[in-house]
Amino acid sequence: MSIHQRTKSLHARGNALSDTFFQLNVLNGKEMSDARFPAFSEAIKQAGFSTGRLKPTAIEIFQVNVGKLCNQTCAHCHVDAGPDRREENMTKENFDRCLDILARYDISTVDITGGAPELNPHFRWFVEECRKLGKHVINRCNLTVIMSNPKYRDLPQFFAENRVEVVSSLPHYSALRTDSQRGDGVFDDSIKALQLLNAVGYGKEGTDLKINLVYNPTGAFLPGGQAGLEAEFKRQLKRKHDVDFNQLYAITNMPISRFLDYLLESDNYETYMQSLLDAFNPGAVAGVMCRNTISVSWDGYLYDCDFNQMLDLKVAVNGRRHLSDFDFEALSNRDIVLNQHCYGCTAGAGSSCGGQIG
């Protein structure tokens, strides 16, 4: 019932990639690699976005990254989260600002992520307040947090009582693949947590309690078709562990943060970027998640998506980039900030926080 981390955060290691500006320089062929790829803004011109700019369709999802503190240090984490990230956690003041905005505007879904969101002391209160406002709440739970301490063991009941949709990473139905990415012992604790979620009705027929799993490749390759992966995950998890779940979301790893570090260290960076470009799917551009999402950071700043947040690419709305200056109209008409990592969301069938786009 304990997990062993295979890595530390880039921040803790003092790695140059913990500087987001340095990461952007790598992606643009100015640091560590001289490989330069066609600008993403040029690529989307062939997808019908002739200006090379992308606009929102609506603001339907309010994604709140409540902090970088996590009980795991996964090898691919785009947040660079970990047990050492104790400073970056959302305060009550910023949660209150989120609730004010959610009360004012018709934004249907609150998508809570981290880190491990449950480690934020205001987590349960925030979920309950969002539910009082009638919002659909998604929580991105890493599963092992439920097993990490007895005080979190009742989280499945809490989620059920608040009708929270749970979205959890499980990169493989084999312990070897899962632990290679997420840390030794993560698979076993994840299965125990899934069994607890199943026990209160999650993933079971006849309930409206949804547990959706996230598959993302455990190496320098792209995800295969979501339907085929889901069928195999369902078969294997049921057969080996009597675990049920609703949907599998296949998500592509973005070439940023710790996954970028892995790509560079394993000499896979250029091949991976080329595979994203080769798999560029013009049909996936229209459905990318930044078009209906606003992403909020622990310190209250606004971004187009969680990936832009981790590269510190704030929304392109001058002077109104914080919860305290939230301008719904301006945000609805903003230009989405694009860079080379965006190829990760348009490869193959496309990728979003809700899985495959196509």
Binding site: H172, Y173, L176, R177, P217, F221, P223, G224, G228, E232
Partner: protein, 112 residues
């Protein structure tokens, strides 16, 4: 042009070029190949494991690289991939050993 190797991993990306000198046949091959490998009575994941096993049997380095990647993409893990290769190896070994029945028959025919 480099003549250092018979096999160059970079050549795998040039596979599509085999249509260059015989387009009609090459196009037919790729259309058939695509049809064979897509989901049917067998899943794409199962077909990629078969392809990986065959790749080892025919000892094609390009196919081994290509179908190792494809197997991972389709969700197979190391244990499944190694089992597929073991199946190929077992059939190959068995096909050697089964010939020994001919050896035994012949030996019995000519010995007292």
């Amino acid at each position: 042009m480099s003549k250092k190797h018979y096999f160059d991993p970079a050549d795998l990306a040039k596979f599509g070029n085999i249509t260059a000198w015989q387009k009609s046949m090459g196009d037919k091959f790729f259309a058939w190949y695509g049809e064979v490998m897509k989901e049917g009575a067998l899943t794409e994941r199962e077909k990629s494991l078969i392809a990986l096993a065959v790749a080892h049997t025919i000892q094609c380095p390009y196919c081994i690289d290509a179908y190792t990647t494809t197997c991972l993409e389709k969700g197979s893990d190391e244990e499944q991939m190694m089992e597929a290769v073991q199946v190929a190896a077992a059939i190959r070994a068995g096909s050697t050993l089964v010939y020994s029945t001919q050896m035994m028959n012949h030996a019995e025919d000519m010995t007292m």
